[in-house]
Symmetry: C3
Subunit: 361 residues, 3 copies
């Protein structure tokens, strides 16, 4: 791609300010954009990153036009409602997605005779589709992905290389499973019998609803009975662990390396930062959030943000952390105070008791 | 399955109380059981979950019969010694395990000519069995599992899809490796030579003893020399990391995302909660436990429970956390006290010294 | 191998002290070496481990000869500059590496017709090499490894079983990727549009420079635009997560289960302990270190060591932790002090004000 700034302004229905004939041949972040590339300034938070910006042009909201012009007078501006959306539109032109794999089953794939594949599916070399699997249309099963018997997939499901579905798992439409993720392994349950751990059978399943995306190396264990459920539109990052019998709501976002113990529940729009850990049977209600590395062992009410280990409401935790930092100073103050009180106490003791004074008087 | 409560009571050798002809066609947890399903009440801790129980029947211990009858008069009771065991017996009938894969090597598997397989083994499509591998009877090597050369497997070993054994690893009888787990990758060891990191050869191995189970995506690294060892009956959850030269005892239970650095040791019956991290060369003695997210950097004596980061004995940590929560309040008290002492000090200074008073007297 | 201590001394150009004809047939750590094995004592820190040492011989530095002789008089000494290096030399003889796989493409591998392989490459059974992949010389692509289209590999690259490279990833010379690691999965980016999470296209790539090693099950996500970069010689342990657009310097060492959020940067020789988590857009400058389980959310200056959650400079954190441990005691002191001040205050109040005293006088 190589287009003028003016042409891009037309493309995204934006308002051009500045040199309109500059050629744009690429897209990049504010810091990394070169002198023939376009970037975007989404909001006030981005302004501090403009210092060394060498970009030719930027998408930005109308309200920032003057501020940005003052900071970077040479930058050609394209004013739009949603700068990120405009940027992504151009990204699609500059860096188009690799074309999807052509439909068809590779001769080097292994597909059971009893499996049913919808139209337009791609099954790559060394992928394995087990007995009685049912798959909708236009699914992409990449090399090495394994679908054990009895799984049911909707339309437009994508399994990246080495994604693994254990038997009898259900994936609804447009679910994406990244490489090495494992859906439906046995929940972690044992009972101690005569000094040895006996496996509790895990006979439930996993259901991932529409538009769920699961990151590379994540694991979603099957329920003991019933189902481990991930609600529609929920996005789960790499190496997240969801234990058996969890039930997640819709549009959740879990960052990398989060771990949920068994039977946790979430409402909708719950957000967990990286490396958060959650105790079993905890419920995080709709709109609640937990900061990175938080350790949650109580239910979180709707809309609250909790942080810390053990996690508490954000304001409480911040007050706590602020106070804790002052503990060394408090120790010094306490010691000084002890000394002072000892001195006062001695001084007062040295004085004759007031009554005797008065008596003396 | 569909049987009367009375028939189930006979099956588990239990004592029936309540309606005996109710048809039971499923099993579920206390909260999820429907009006034709059976659940179980293991002990007093389960009683609080009975509020909205809609189950037709429940297994429970004799001692809880009256309490449960008072809470849920319509529930048919089957009184038994071990409610969970009775429940699992019925689970096996209601939700029988998928039949094991039929013995035989898939034509789409790759098995080296020098590998030796015992009777009754299943090797699925795209599984790879390397040179000189020796495998006992009735092993199940699922699609995509890779056994590198020289590995030795006992009887009844199960490798789920994409489990990987590096060369020369030993798995004893009934070991289960879940999907994507990696046994025997190189330990993480380097030496800094002329400013660059030089790999220290990792020439040891891994030995997993009888009845060990390793979760999906877990990694057990091979020793530098000698062996990384996991004792019989130990169960390790998903995404746990066991570094080189660790030696674990028997019947340990490690929850998900635990990480042990190199050369750690455990006794028997050690339990680690999710996301626990352990420093290298630490020993956790028999019966010790660490709460979720604990960070262990000292040896733990037998039978002790430690929590926190850094981890300390539970009682100590609880006292600490309790105190820390009061630090904001302590700051306020300290300030008030400083003010009061300043006031007292000023007041006392304003008074003539007792000696002068007396002199004046 | 079986050689005399004297022969080993010649081999490593060391100075023999003690019995020279003892036969050595193995190598082991100080604690595990048996009576016909050799070990090594690198420095003073190893001396405490000599108590029960049964080794026949040890490599050690000249300066420790007398101390070690006093502690373990029967131990044959071989004095060298670098005991570990001598030990590794012998290790190579005692436990030689398995021979590399013979060059050649397995008939059970799947290699695209458009892929270009250099001389001497091994491609194992069930490995997949996609369209337009370019591979240098002497690469080893183990069973089940998947290289998606458009990837470029240098010379001597090793992909262990089930390593996955998404499309268009670049690996320079001598890169090693362990089993199940995933390079180039989509970065975790979404925008909320009309209440649903819309995937932000991840069109960048990943570049791993010379001599990078990536542990089993680790994930390095592709950049949104531009590249996620790992500098030459950097070593990354199992299950580490590097999010999109991170740029790591050279010779970094990240222990297991570390997680870096998006757009982090590191200088050279940065070291992170196990389970460290780093906030997005944080820079850790050259020579900085973070202790295990640290949570980093601010830039770390060059050469500093930070610990804790939230992480702060080591000395500050140690002072803090030391102080925090004293909080329970401080509470007691504070209470005692409050009591004492109350007493003093009451006593002073009971006394007539000094002025009235004087007036009385």
């Amino acid at each position: 791609m190589s287009r003028t700034a003016a042409a891009l302004a037309v493309l995204v229905n934006g308002e051009l300010r500045g040199a309109e004939n500059r050629w744009i041949d690429g897209v990049a972040s504010i810091e990394q954009a070169g002198p023939s590339e376009i970037t975007y300034i989404q909001d006030e938070k981005h302004l501090s990153r403009l210092a060394d910006c060498r970009a030719a042009a930027a998408f930005l909201p109308h309200r920032l036009a003057d501020i940005v012009a003052a900071k970077t007078p040479d930058l050609t501006q394209i004013l739009v409602e949603d700068p990120q959306a405009a940027f992504l539109t151009v990204l699609e032109i500059v860096r188009p997605q690799r074309p999807s794999c052509a439909p068809g089953v590779s001769p080097a794939a292994f597909v059971s005779e009893s499996a049913q594949l919808g139209e337009g599916c791609y099954v790559g070399p060394t992928a394995v589709v087990g007995d009685d699997v049912v798959m909708g249309r236009n699914c992409q099963i990449h090399p090495g992905a394994v679908i054990q018997p009895g799984c049911v997939l909707g339309d437009d499901v994508v399994l990246h290389p080495h994604a693994v579905l254990y038997a009898d798992v259900t994936l609804k439409n447009r679910v994406i499973i990244h490489a090495g993720a494992v859906i439906g392994a046995d929940g972690f349950g044992y009972r101690l019998v005569n000094g040895a751990l006996e496996k509790i059978p895990q006979r439930g399943t996993v259901i991932l609803h529409d538009d769920v995306e699961i990151g590379a190396g994540a694991t979603i264990d099957r329920a003991m009975i019933g189902a481990t459920v991930v609600g529609a539109g929920t996005k789960i990052d790499n190496m997240v662990m969801i234990a058996h019998n969890c039930e997640l709501g819709q549009h959740n976002v879990f960052a990398s390396q989060v771990g949920l113990a068994g039977s946790c529940k979430t409402g909708d729009y719950v957000r967990l930062g990286g490396q958060v850990g959650v105790k079993d049977h905890v419920t995080m209600h709709t709109g609640s959030q937990v900061g990175a590395k938080g350790g949650v062992h109580r239910d979180i009410p709707p809309g609250e943000t909790w942080i810390g280990y053990p996690a508490t409401p954000e304001a409480e935790q911040k007050r706590l952390v602020f106070s804790l930092k002052r503990v060394p100073e408090m120790r010094d103050q306490l010691k000084a105070l002890q000394k002072e009180v000892t001195r006062l106490s001695a001084e007062l003791a040295a004085a004759p008791p007031p009554s005797s004074l008065r008596a003396a008087g």
